[in-house]
């Protein structure tokens, strides 16, 4: 079932009208009103007005003043500049240090290579007497071989001469056996007879 009843509670203040009234004020006037209101609020809550004044003073002193801000800004700029210069110098120094480190590294590598070369020379020098002895042995062996070879060669030559002599003798013998008259003619011819 539906029913309707009318009551009349107190009307609230018109919020929009109050906003319009405040918005019509200049910013400074509005801020001044707020500061005064905060003073009242402070008095209501904390008690004597002196406490609000003290609070306001503390807060104002804590706030940066324009000339201080300007001085601090200039100081900040100078500090930034100095930092930038120091940074550049540091960077140059770092570059030089890096180049020196690279040079040092290259020199170290070079020294290492020289050391290795020196070691190789020393190793070779240590190995030289043994090589020489081996060479002498080799040379002696070679000479022995050459001698033996010369003996063999002379023996070969002797045998070849023997063989040639034997072959000539054999040829003469065959000639006398196969054609004795021709042999005689040859003997005669050699002797100068017709």
């Amino acid at each position: 079932m539906t029913s309707t009843r009318t009551v009349d509670p107190a009307l609230p203040p018109d919020f929009a009208v109050r906003v319009q009234r405040l918005e019509a004020l200049e910013t400074r006037a509005l801020a001044a009103r707020c500061l005064a209101g905060i003073g009242e609020l402070s008095e209501v809550i904390l008690g004597p007005r002196a406490r609000h004044a003290e609070l306001l003073l503390e807060m104002l002193l804590a706030r940066a003043r324009p000339e201080l801000v300007e001085a601090q800004r200039a100081e900040l700029l100078a500090a930034r500049r100095e930092i930038a210069e120091q940074g550049a110098a540091l960077a140059a120094h770092e570059r030089a240090q890096r180049a020196a480190a690279e040079r040092e590294l290259a020199l170290q590598r070079e020294v290492e290579e020289l050391r290795r070369a020196q070691e190789a020379v020393a190793e070779r020098a240590a190995a030289l007497p043994e090589e020489r002895a081996a060479l002498e042995l080799g040379r002696a062996a070679l000479e022995q071989i050459e001698r033996e070879l010369a003996t063999l060669r002379s023996e070969r030559d002797w045998r070849a001469a023997e063989m040639r002599a034997a072959a000539s003798a054999l040829e003469g013998l065959r000639f006398r056996l196969l054609a004795p008259e021709l042999h005689e003619r040859v003997q005669r011819w050699k002797a100068g007879a017709p």
């Binding site: 539906t2 009551v7 009349d8 609230p12 906003v19 509005l30 801020a31 809550i45 807060m59």
Partner: protein
């Protein structure tokens, strides 16, 4: 035992928004059959809403086996949220009252877990999950001011009550009252819940209860929100150290806003400061059971300076 509930809807939105929400609600209450009551608040100064409701949801056709009632409470035009809710709760027939936004779509069985949660006497208000992936606002202290942090909504206790969907006890709501200082908007319920929390009571988000509140229904006016946040802070802040930190932050903000011509900030501050006399009357007398810092998200962490 199923306890009947009075559902209060502040029907300030359009009929197109209200109608489907009301249909879903009435269907759910009919199924629940607990003798619930729906109270529509009409602040248009006319009887148009009552006429519309009577025509759109006629009792015989809609509630054949009805055990719930739909009523309209017509209030004077321009009635504030606090006054309207106070009037509605005074009119409530049942001991439990569910405050509901007009665009809120209820889901089956949303009410029973909330009623069960209120059986714990420590629970002041029980709320459902408003949507999947809901983001909740939780209070924290940041740079000398109250900050509203958005966090993922989780079941269990939370910090800021919302009037869009919450179940409370009628008599307790009437006894605590709603502070007109915080209307219009979200801070009315936040103040109500905070006062309960100061007394050691709990606001509980109930896992088994879900409704659907469209995101458009949660838009807030930035100026109103800033003003109400300041008033909330001034009403509930305790401990001289926190106050001094806060006043210092206010002075700093004022000077910065003046220098940078941030007029909205100054207007919000001036609006709040105009309420000082009402605020003085509104500030709770006597010591609270729990201090301000203890009620912030994360408890008193980071607030060592408070005495």
């Amino acid at each position: 035992m199923t306890r009947p509930v009075t559902i209060v809807i502040q029907a300030g939105g359009t009929r197109a928004e209200l109608e489907p929400a009301l249909a879903a609600l009435l269907g759910e209450l009919e199924w629940r059959a607990a003798g619930d009551e729906v109270l529509l608040l009409d602040t248009s100064g006319t009887s148009a809403l009552g006429d519309w409701a009577a025509q759109r949801f006629p009792p015989p056709a809609t509630f054949e086996r009805a055990s719930c009632e739909l009523r309209t409470l017509a209030l004077a035009r321009g009635t504030g949220d606090a006054g309207a809710l106070r009037a509605a709760v005074s009119e409530a027939a049942h001991a439990l009252v569910f405050l509901m936004a007009p665009g809120l779509h209820v889901r089956a069985g949303f009410l029973e877990p909330l009623c069960a949660a209120l059986e714990d006497p420590r629970t002041f208000a029980a709320v459902p999950f408003l949507r999947t992936g809901e983001s909740a606002v939780e209070p924290r202290w940041l740079a000398g001011a109250l900050d509203c942090a958005h966090v993922a909504a989780a079941a269990g206790e939370f910090g800021f009550l919302r009037a869009a969907a919450c179940l409370v006890r009628r008599d307790e709501l009437l006894a605590r009252g709603l502070d007109a200082l915080f209307e219009p908007g979200e801070w009315l319920a936040r103040d109500l819940g905070w006062r309960a929390r100061r007394d050691g009571r709990a606001l509980v988000r109930v896992a088994g209860s879900t409704v659907e509140l469209p995101a458009a229904s949660t838009e807030v006016n930035a100026l109103e929100d800033a003003r109400a946040r300041l008033l909330f802070t001034w009403k509930h802040l305790d401990g001289e150290a926190l106050w001094r930190e806060h006043l210092g932050a206010l002075l700093e903000r004022t000077l910065r806003a003046a220098e940078e011509d941030q007029r909205d900030e100054l207007v919000a501050l001036a609006l709040a400061l105009e309420e000082l006399p009402a605020l003085t009357r509104s500030r709770p007398a006597g010591a609270a059971r729990l201090r301000f810092a203890a009620l912030l998200a994360g408890g008193a962490e980071g607030h060592e300076r408070q005495a």
